[in-house]
Symmetry: C2
Subunit: 292 residues, 2 copies
Amino acid sequence: MQEAAEQLGFVANAAARSLQAGRTYTVGMITTDSIGRFSIPLLIGAEDALGAGQVSVFLCDARDDPIREQYYLRTLLGRQVDGIIVTGRRTQARPPIGRSLPVPVVYAFISSTDPADCSVVPDEAGGAVLALSHLLASGRRRIAHVTGPRRHSSALVRADATRAYLRDHGLAVRGRVRFGAWTEMWGRAAIAQLLEAAPDVDAVFCGSDQIARGVLDTLRETGRRVPDDVAVVGFDNWTVMAEASRPPLTSVDLDIDRIGRLAARHLVSAIEGREPPRHTVVPPRLVRRESG
Amino acid sequence: MQEAAEQLGFVANAAARSLQAGRTYTVGMITTDSIGRFSIPLLIGAEDALGAGQVSVFLCDARDDPIREQYYLRTLLGRQVDGIIVTGRRTQARPPIGRSLPVPVVYAFISSTDPADCSVVPDEAGGAVLALSHLLASGRRRIAHVTGPRRHSSALVRADATRAYLRDHGLAVRGRVRFGAWTEMWGRAAIAQLLEAAPDVDAVFCGSDQIARGVLDTLRETGRRVPDDVAVVGFDNWTVMAEASRPPLTSVDLDIDRIGRLAARHLVSAIEGREPPRHTVVPPRLVRRESG
DNA sequence: ATGAAAGCGCTAACAT
DNA sequence: ATGTTAGCGCTTTCAT
């Protein structure tokens, strides 16, 4: 009989089922920052972990607007989602999205300022260490660092880790850490300045792949061979950028898919009444290409 | 009283409401191709049009797998979505996702092979015309075309439109249309070949911004001034690419946000029992920067 | 005006 | 094994 029903294309009404089960097999995902390069792998990771269609995901783009965010939160709660994943582009800790909510919340990529909240974050400092140890292992000693705006926590964390790691190895950042923007244009400008200030630089660790791309272009155009004269390592492993670079860019991959999968898995744990780990740090990987 | 309830953070149970209303104020979005640069603006446009939180969107990534797609379709129907938006990266027409479904379906960006289905698509041929008329207006006459794989409908449509438009103006594509890949590397290779075959080329219309970027780089490196010697126009207006180019890239924008908004609006029309237009073609825009 | 009751479609518990 | 029923939380209708 059930088979017959299936054959006829019958699908049970989820609203009725939810009503009586008190569970909707639905989760909400709120991205505080506008959806993009980071939210999508997260969503895919989450979908995977949630069992491909067993659990559906409401994706909400709060566009960095707290009012929208609260509105979406209400909507999601009204829809009786079983849990919520909060994410965003900035990795800096953010205030919790709500207090004593009726459903579990997991912060993915970003973390909450409340240490009691569950969050899954990338290891940005570890990413810097990975890049630098690779550069040291290949014999580089005069290493510069070009990165994004000083006010971005990501830039600061990566820069601090860079300084600390080099200091621990008896080295200093060549030139000085150059904060600017997450753009190719800044990469080009920064390396030009740097070649003035410290022409003997033999490696540049960049805070993003876009910056690295700018650095790479200017190095090539000023006659430096990469990686022979100067090695370059990027950050994010944004494939379209890294693969189109000349030479293809070695880059730190924060493994965002995995962050998404873990966040989803922890959310399911919490939904089912277990206690997921409060704070998970996902180790980065170095993707080696030809730039260093 | 109702105000008091609001104050206390009460939110009505949507499952119960849906059960009795027979409507969930929920729509599904199935991307057949993996989610990305195209689905997100679509989602944002759709969210906007659906009234920011009035209607929530289930986003499903079918990853180009028909089995997954059918599975998601069943799931969405089970969840009693009021309607479904189907989208994907390829603009080529695709078989309908289902026959005589209980809810309306709108195809966005892609279209259905069934002419009775409602679809909202970009005007790719019009985009080519826009680019070429701009080049002609600025005095170019020896115009080349470099684009993606011949098997991609987008490449073919744009190339055909290019040939036709030039022919109508008494011109031919300089060299010949060069099909390849949607990559910078192909752009670099193609323009190198082209400069051999037709060194007097004075404009290159490219099938994507990535290709255009490769073309731009090689032109600059072989001593051509852009746009003085050769003008370059891209396609997609992918901001990170277009703005990082040297010089910044003039590009055709297919206005995907608008496609998303229209698709959502048509879906709402259909849900409310009206008859949305069967086939909507959204006009492209040319975003002028400095490359031509 | 306010209040009571029926019913949306399902599942789980119960009765046959 | 099969069938019947209560109730999930809301809205709508009807009665007070």
